[in-house]
Symmetry: C2
């Protein structure tokens, strides 16, 4: 199933999200308006807005609040992409030139800041302090995680526990904000809020594990960047840890990393580490599925379950 | 009067602010904790927290909320300083090395983001949606203003109206968040909220005008950067506009800017433009003073009035 098929039950809501996203980033000042138009217009899977919407569907929810949450999660996501691309000096994303490749570093930093501010502004209209705090905390978690990674690059040996912490803060935290936030807005009881929070956490972690696997296995052209770019930047991801444990106990990894990184990436790409990492992503996605057990078997629960399969099967 | 003398009536509150600021930026992760300790520890005048506190003093106010607002304004200010220093590639601030001079660009961008997130998190505990929205809007205004300036550098001729817009968004907006926010938290009636908003706006504009004058007239050592650094970066400030209008109607400014910037700065420094700019700052500070007329003559109103004199008389 592709993502459009999975999201068919909330197709109308997602169309609204597109229109409202454009509205949300509308600014008077023209160069900035162009930046945002380009950023929002270039699309994306809209997984976070979809999660926000789906999480509200187990109880009657004010649609305005549902949309507000959906927009706020996507704006935070867009802001982090802007800052990530600047940090990684990426020149394209989704086949479109990145903001940092077309504008100054200044404009790029500030465009990201502006979107964070806009997300906070929009979240303030939720009239729900609990959700707003989750939002602010999520932002802190994302930033702290990124800084942690930036410093970790200069540390050796890399640490697998740090990896799990990192993907939780980098990716799962915003998935959690979407699902936990949606559940709270819908007035769900605490056990359901906890279940949707757990679902968001596992789904986000599985999603990032697969991203990290695809960084090794995907086609360079589809990826839009060189294979193994995380490792090239000194970041160890799940396949690398499996490779170190299963295939390369006695190999001089530190040395290969500095002198033969292409060969090292090729070796990992063709090792059992890829299947082992994928199996772990599958187990994590299964944990997300299990968290849905307390909900009635509705079209929305099935959509959430389908998403857990999609995130591990996707090829990009 | 120096700033300590002016702030004597709220000395205890400001001591609390110092302690709470340290608490607010406490993080587990050590390198980041060091960054924030350095940033918060290196001081500053704490004008924004002081304004937040003073603006609540005309009605009985929950001290917790007063402190929350004070901390949030200073955190936003600290975040903008971090991003400004990175953008301007400044190596010192208040005699201390800047974060960007000691850490990577990545860590610097993210440390600023983290403080913005923390400010949003703290503001969320205000339980006041009106103040939270002012906060989020302020952040957007600051970012949009900075981006506007970044793009304006490549435009000629520079525009005086743009200058006023810029200092309003860059500096006055956060002064307004402090004074308007404080008034709202204190439960002041709308006419007092409007008066304190106007006060914050004029004070902030006067403050920035004087900053821009000091960029020409202050001692390089005290300034910690070369005289005329705004103009060197292509940014036109109030003294430049007066110079263009009164002293340099027929001079080839565009050409001097690219070939003889040192002589141009010296010429402005010794022209009547400095006194003219200072007179405008004084008129703006007077407007701030006038806005206080509706308040009873208390020690706090006198402190706010003293501040309007301080901002134009200060030498750094």
């Amino acid at each position: 199933m592709n993502i459009q098929q999975i999201f068919a039950p909330i197709q109308e809501e997602l169309a609204q999200v597109e229109a409202r996203l454009r509205q949300a980033v509308r600014v008077e000042y023209l160069p900035l308006a162009d930046i945002f138009e380009m950023l929002i217009g270039s699309g994306g899977k809209r997984i976070r807005p979809a999660l926000s919407i789906l999480a509200t569907k187990f109880h009657p929810t004010d649609p305005e609040k549902m949309y507000t949450l959906a927009i706020a999660t996507e704006l935070v996501h867009a802001a982090t992409l802007i800052h990530d691309d600047l940090i990684d000096r990426s020149s394209t994303r989704r086949g479109t030139p990145t903001i940092n490749s077309r504008w100054s570093g200044t404009a790029t930093v500030l465009a990201g800041d502006f979107l964070l501010a806009r997300a906070a502004d929009i979240a303030a209209s939720l009239d729900n302090f609990r959700v707003m705090r989750i939002f602010a905390r999520t932002l802190m978690t994302i930033c702290e995680g990124e800084i942690r990674q930036d410093f970790a690059r200069s540390h050796w040996p890399p640490n697998r526990d740090e990896y799990y912490k990192h993907i939780e803060s980098k990716t799962a935290s915003l998935f959690i904000a979407a699902t936990e936030g949606g559940a709270i807005l819908s007035g769900a009881p605490e056990n359901e809020i906890a279940a949707l929070k757990a679902y968001g956490r596992y789904l986000g972690m599985a999603f990032q594990m697969v991203d990290d696997i695809l960084d090794f296995t995907a086609d360079e052209k589809e990826l839009g960047k060189p294979v193994g770019s995380d490792l090239r930047q000194g970041t160890f991801t799940l396949p690398v840890f499996y490779y170190l444990e299963n295939d390369a106990r006695d190999k001089p990894i530190a040395e290969m990393l500095s002198t033969q990184v292409d060969q090292l990436i090729e070796a990992i790409r063709h090792s059992s580490a890829i299947a082992a990492a994928k199996a772990e992503a599958q187990r994590t996605a299964q944990a997300a599925r299990d968290a849905l057990a307390i909900f009635p078997d509705t079209i929305y629960r099935r959509t959430l379950a389908d998403l857990t399969e999609y995130v591990v099967e996707r090829t990009l």
